[in-house]
């Protein structure tokens, strides 16, 4: 029998393919994108982050239909959404819960990267794009938090914008430029609205797009941290790879279902999460004469906020100064070339001179910036011959555990008053946080690793 007449559907696809790379794009990124077959629980969070992004974009669009970015109307318009707009409460709670869950998912996604060495070559750029997404996400969340114009919105923005004020020379002018006024005001609210609903979401979507393009160029890492592209069959397909669709689309659907059940439970039964997702002080309109008694950012910023608060004068004098001296000496004795030694010495000296001449407040801001900035250097700080924690020795496992504990501890302390033992604990946590990065070149060099398997292990 001669070739059957192509179906109408087939002809439509052919018509499109002649004008747009539809089938080839679908195959390259979905149906013939080969991912390692040993993905585990931790690999849900990438697709979940994408899901939350979509939820935030959609609920956000509908919120802007009723919200008013004006200091006299903003708070009331949010209450109007909650009480009078049909289903407004649901859309707003989905958006506020989505914000917190976005960070839950992203933190777990990043921790997965730390555990399995997903930041190591050839995925350095993939990791860096990811960290940029994280920074953009923090900016997005911070600006969104001002919009309800509650008292915590107002004072939170006041404190965070004052961080820029602390920078020498350019600080005050920069803070005024960000606020558009001498204090947080209508101008600030209006521009934060513009940035929150247009500018940063556009950037986020674009960054997520290039994050996925970069991922599909280098291929996914896996819990064994070995390259599946090293072993291919005659057709050039990785022996340990399976097509993303249908295998992982179906797997991710299960993850999405469980995630949505949890999300719905929060939205319907505990949207405030006892003050963790929506702070009690934000149910009062902004009052420029009265700071809330206990000012704190939402939970996802508290680890970094803790580092900011922990940087007191004593911390700089008695902890940071010896730490910089130690790190400089260690580096000078470890590196081989004279030029590297000189660079290490100069950087160390710059810090020491800075500690002596610039006030602790500025160093708090610098350390908070560094706590995120160091993530960018991670691919080059790690010197281990293996990627995955499964084949690493006790040193890396201990360091990663301590880092995770320090991160959670800092996060908790950031929600508590900064007094007494809490300050000491936060300072300890900050030191552990930084040592995880700063000492990494040494403990990953001396760590005893186990040989990695030829092929991925999976049951």
């Amino acid at each position: 029998m001669a070739a059957a007449k192509p179906t109408a559907w087939r002809r439509l696809i052919d018509w499109i393919d002649a004008r747009y790379p539809l089938t080839s794009t679908w195959e390259q990124h979905v149906s013939k994108y080969y991912a390692p077959k040993n993905f585990n629980f931790w690999y849900y969070f990438g697709s979940l982050a994408l899901l939350v992004l979509v939820v935030q974009l959609v609920t956000g669009i509908f919120l802007t239909m009723h919200y008013k970015p004006d200091v006299n109307l903003a708070f009331a318009s949010v209450e109007y959404i909650m009480r009078d707009v049909e289903w407004g409460w649901l859309i707003r709670y989905m958006h506020s819960t989505g914000a917190s869950l976005f960070f839950v998912v992203v933190y777990l996604h990043m921790f997965r990267g730390l555990m399995y060495g997903s930041y190591r070559g050839p995925r350095e750029l993939l990791w860096i794009i990811g960290v940029v997404i994280f920074v953009a996400l923090m900016a997005e969340a911070f600006m969104g938090y001002l919009l309800p114009w509650g008292n915590m919105s107002y004072w939170g923005a006041q404190v965070i914008i004052s961080l820029f004020d602390a920078l020498p020379v350019i600080g005050p002018g920069l803070a005024e430029w960000i606020r558009g006024d001498f204090v947080v005001s209508d101008a600030t609210l209006n521009r934060f609205f513009a940035l929150h609903v247009i500018a940063v979401p556009l950037v986020l979507v674009l960054l997520v797009f290039i994050h996925i393009v970069a991922l599909h160029k280098v291929g996914s890492n896996n819990p064994d941290g070995i390259e599946i592209k090293a072993k291919k069959n005659a057709k050039g397909i990785p022996l340990d790879g399976i097509p993303f669709h249908p295998y992982y689309t179906v797997k991710d659907l299960v993850g999405a279902t469980v995630f949505l059940i949890i999300g719905a439970a929060i939205v319907f039964f505990a949207p405030e999460m006892g003050g963790w997702f929506l702070e009690h002080d934000n149910f009062v309109p902004a009052n420029i004469l009265q700071t809330p008694t206990e000012i704190k950012p939402l939970w996802y910023f508290t680890p970094f906020y803790s580092i900011l608060r922990a940087t007191t004068e004593q911390m700089v004098a008695w902890v940071l100064t010896p730490l910089v001296v130690f790190m400089t000496l260690l580096t000078v004795f470890s590196v081989r070339t004279g030029r590297s030694r000189l660079i290490a010495l100069v950087i160390g000296m710059l810090f020491l001179v800075g500690f002596a001449t610039i006030e602790a407040k500025v160093w708090g801001v610098v350390l908070m910036g560094l706590s995120i900035g160091l993530l960018f250097l991670l691919p080059w700080l790690d010197r281990a011959p293996v990627k995955s924690v499964r084949y690493r020795g006790w040193m890396f496992k201990t360091a990663l555990t301590l880092f995770a504990i320090a991160f959670v501890l800092l996060g908790y302390l950031g929600t508590q008053p900064a007094s007494g033992i809490n300050v000491i604990l936060a300072q300890l946590g900050a030191v552990v946080y930084f040592l995880f990065f700063l000492l990494m070149p040494w403990y990953t060099t001396f760590d005893k690793t186990r040989p990695v398997p030829e092929r991925v292990t999976w049951k």
């Binding site: 004072w155 404190v159 004469l289 608060r309 900064a418």
Partner: protein, 199 residues
């Protein structure tokens, strides 16, 4: 793409055009960047505020708004004034040496024009929170039995005395700001305008 050698003249023109394009882009960006600075309306909004303090009792604190900031007016009792010299060893800048934090006429032991009347911008010099008024001395303040009375910032734990002077070893680097202010009469203060140098 041709296999011919690069034409240096055209390459120069290309570089020149690109360079001019960058300069043009910088000029075009300027209005957008500058549109985010405080507007003429925001700059003009800093008018002085007049306050009547005739009914302010000793030990009482009045909060008014000036340039979008809280300004405190505290009529200090004789006991409160006595604490000012007692706490000096615990302060970072007891002599108010940092000149930007107060006008010249308030650079004195009480940081005020009249000893009992303190006028202060109620914002912490750390990150701009508004400190709590913990005027009562002793344990009732929640800051320990030896607390002499003053202000406590809940955000990051900075402490100030009853003249807005900062304690040592707290995050805030400087004393709280005394705004420019002047007495129009015995009981009326104008906040935002300097006191004329008349005795």
């Amino acid at each position: 793409m041709s296999d011919e050698a690069m034409n240096p003249q055209r390459r120069r023109l290309l570089m020149l055009t690109t360079g001019l394009g960058v300069v043009g882009a910088a000029f075009a960006a300027t209005p957008f960047v500058k549109s985010m600075l405080p507007s003429a309306r925001a700059r003009a909004a800093g008018a002085p505020v007049e306050v009547d303090i005739s009914r302010l009792e000793p030990g009482q604190l009045l909060t008014v708004e000036w340039r979008g900031k809280p300004v405190w007016i505290l009529r200090r009792t004789p006991e409160m004034l006595q604490t000012l010299s007692a706490v000096e060893p615990m302060l970072a800048d007891p002599k108010s040496a940092v000149a930007d934090q107060q006008p010249k006429y308030a650079q004195n032991p009480t940081r005020s024009i009249k000893p009992e009347i303190l006028v202060l911008v109620g914002l912490c010099t750390h990150l701009g929170c508004s400190p709590d008024k913990r005027l009562e001395p002793g344990a009732a303040s929640g800051l320990g039995a030896d607390w002499p009375g003053g202000f406590f910032c809940p955000c990051h734990g900075s402490k100030f005395d009853l003249a807005g002077r900062v304690y040592r070893n707290v995050p805030a680097p400087t004393n709280m700001v005394v705004p420019p202010h002047a007495y129009i009469s015995d009981t009326r203060i104008l906040i935002g305008e300097d006191q004329k140098e008349t005795a």
